[in-house]
Amino acid sequence: MVQVKGKVLGIDLGTTNSCVAVIELGEPKVITNSEGKRITPSVVGFSKKNELLVGELAKRQIVSNPENSVQSIKRYMGKPDYRVALNNEKYTPHGISSMILQKLKVDAEKYLGDAVGKAVITVPAYFNDSQRFATKKAGEMAGLDVLRVINEPTAAALAYGLRDGVQDQKILVYDLGGGTFDVSILKIKNGVFEVLATCGDTELGGDDFDRKIVDYLLSGFKEAEGIDLSENVEAMQRIKEAAERCKIDLSSLTTSNIDLPYISENKRLDMEISKEQFEAMTEDLVKKTISITEKALKDAGLSPQDIDEIILVGGSTRIPAVAKQVEDFMGKAPLQSINPDEVVAMGAAVQAGILGNEYLKSSGDQQIDGGNLVLLDVTSLSLGFETVGDTTAFIIPRNTTIPTRNSKVFTTHYDNQKIVRGKILQGEEQAASKNVALGTIILENIPPELKGVPRIEVTFDIDANGIINAIARDLATGNIRSVTIERPVGLND
């Protein structure tokens, strides 16, 4: 257990919006930012006078100053070579994220009237090791001690579980955010939140729904005026914003009008999109989420009828077609009683409370302290070792409860082989090269033997933080090679 003094923030670092919560009097409370809002846009920019802008202010100047603004940076987290040019400097994705976290931290300190140094930060369940590492790094760069990086759908389940009581039930969390999609299935029993299965797509979210509208508008304008706007940065920014607004409108209206005067010189973009049109455009996206949901159920060994409660998380679940498709597939109306933009941050605050053994209040008379709850999360991606012929030997399958450990015995593949070398892989592909390489294990000084004789045991160990350790051991000589995953250089900047 981590020794926790002072408040620990629960931070949902989202693709489009971020949110912060903290435990107050046993309940998670969302912190309002310095603009008085409960959510902060995940946008960073520099004003024309070279001032750093984060959140609402940065979002406001995107249209007028697009080349000095960054949004949806979460989509690039953990990519070691990706750099953003801002204000004549190059920034890493986690460097940008740390600016967002810094603002959230400062605002929280203002709200609480006290210094804050610790946080639990959420990530999509389907984030791989590098993406998680980059998120943790961003927190550290913002001056936060990141006690735990937890999965977003799991966090949402904690928030609902605490509010509705921790009795025996199985829940499915459908989390469609701005840029990522996750499904997690949990069993809550005896105060234990046990994740049974998780599945997702890190490149599927509300942005993709916007993109569909943008494409429709672009092709419509091209047809009418013969002008391609896709290269016009400023026009594109205006269209993107209009598309997002149109999507939001269509959650409550049957048609939405898009009117953008002077979009290209003196030309005007004036189009109408109906709800039916929008639903037809985005049908494939929704279907994709349903098939991922199906896969998660299969991994958990359950059918839709086994699920007691369905929870919708993420702003994109406000799209009526999404909620309806989920309801049709699951055969049950989903719950959305906690604001889907805030529930993840609230859950992160609950986990912070559990780590700090804080007093937590549940439904009705059920008063519990953090000591009566524990979250058993899983590793969402399989972990394997590269072997001959570009194949992956899986050692820890996905959906294994962490902390965990497992090993497999390997051998040499030619006579007198002295060195065994292989990559540590994360992913579900049989072909090693298609999975993400986390590092390399090299075991030397193997005594000369015929091929197939030496026995080399490779052990992977994942701790509660999701940190992976790998050990290779020559069972004959007892030689040990322990490898803590080395991060690509790009992530250490």
């Binding site: 257990m1 559990i354 780590l355 524990v374 701790d463």
Partner: protein, 259 residues
């Protein structure tokens, strides 16, 4: 230590019991909850045990691989005793007690007690019919126990069983001396069974009815006393009290005679 010992649950634990126990341990030993530096190790072990036992197929395979159970803790805590029993009584397990692996004697001993119910009965009858016949005894018990044990003994062990039986007959003289000890042990184990039998017997049933009757009479007396005393409390007369004691005495006598 097998998974059941690790989780501290009996082998007959239901899936719900196993899950509940795992949840308790998770709340105590998950690294989120425990300060101890070995929490990580401990939790991984509990989880491994739980993951095997929660899956009916894995559990079946695992259970089959286990040496027969019961009183395993006693056996390991009193190694000399276990040796004494196995070599003297010549219950089936002795085959294994000479196997090279140091753990084997213990598991062999467990084997003896696994078949408590059955082998106990056969034991007793052997004893009754042939009070001091160690040779025949070893034969008889060997037979009764063998089918059970053969499932669990490895090939090395069965190979050794021949030498063992020779040794048995050579040490036959010692056998009778230690019988009492063996019997005591078995009786301890069979306590539950005896209890069950007792409850069913007619004699005990009558005894229980008598007991119940006695309690009812005493309760009636108390009730009578109270009804007489309460009006006296209002009147506060000594003669009333005298009457009460008199009646009380009579009632007690009546009760005594009844019982």
């Amino acid at each position: 230590m097998d998974y059941y010992q690790l989780l501290d649950i009996p082998r007959v634990a239901s899936p719900e019991d196993i899950e509940y126990r795992y949840h308790e341990l998770a709340k105590k030993y998950h690294p989120d909850r425990s300060k101890s530096p070995d929490a990580h190790e401990k939790f991984i072990k509990f989880k491994e045990a739980y993951e095997t036992l929660k899956n009916p197929q894995k559990k079946k395979v695992y259970d089959a691989s286990l040496p027969p159970e019961e009183k395993a803790m006693e056996a390991s805590s009193e190694p000399e005793d276990s040796e004494g029993i196995s070599s003297d009584s010549e219950v089936p397990p002795p085959d294994s007690s000479i196997s090279p692996a140091p753990d084997q004697p213990v598991s062999g001993f467990k084997g003896a007690f696994k078949s408590t119910g059955i082998s106990y009965v056969s034991f007793k009858s052997d004893l009754d019919s042939q009070p001091a016949g160690p040779a025949s005894l070893s034969e008889g018990t060997g037979e009764s126990g063998k089918p059970d044990w053969s499932k669990h003994s490895s090939s090395e062990q069965s190979a050794n069983s021949h030498d063992r039986s020779k040794e048995v007959s050579s040490s036959a003289g010692q056998n009778s001396a230690d019988w009492s000890y063996v019997k005591v042990k078995y009786e301890g184990i069979d306590e539950d069974i005896d209890d069950d039998a007792g409850k069913k017997s007619g004699f005990l049933a009558v005894f229980t009815v008598m007991k119940a009757f006695r309690y009812t009479v005493v309760l009636i007396c108390l009730f009578l006393v109270l009804t007489i005393v309460s009006p006296d409390l209002v009147g506060a007369e000594a003669s009333g009290l005298g009457a009460v004691t008199e009646i009380f005495g009579k009632v007690v006598l009546l009760a005594k005679s009844l019982v």
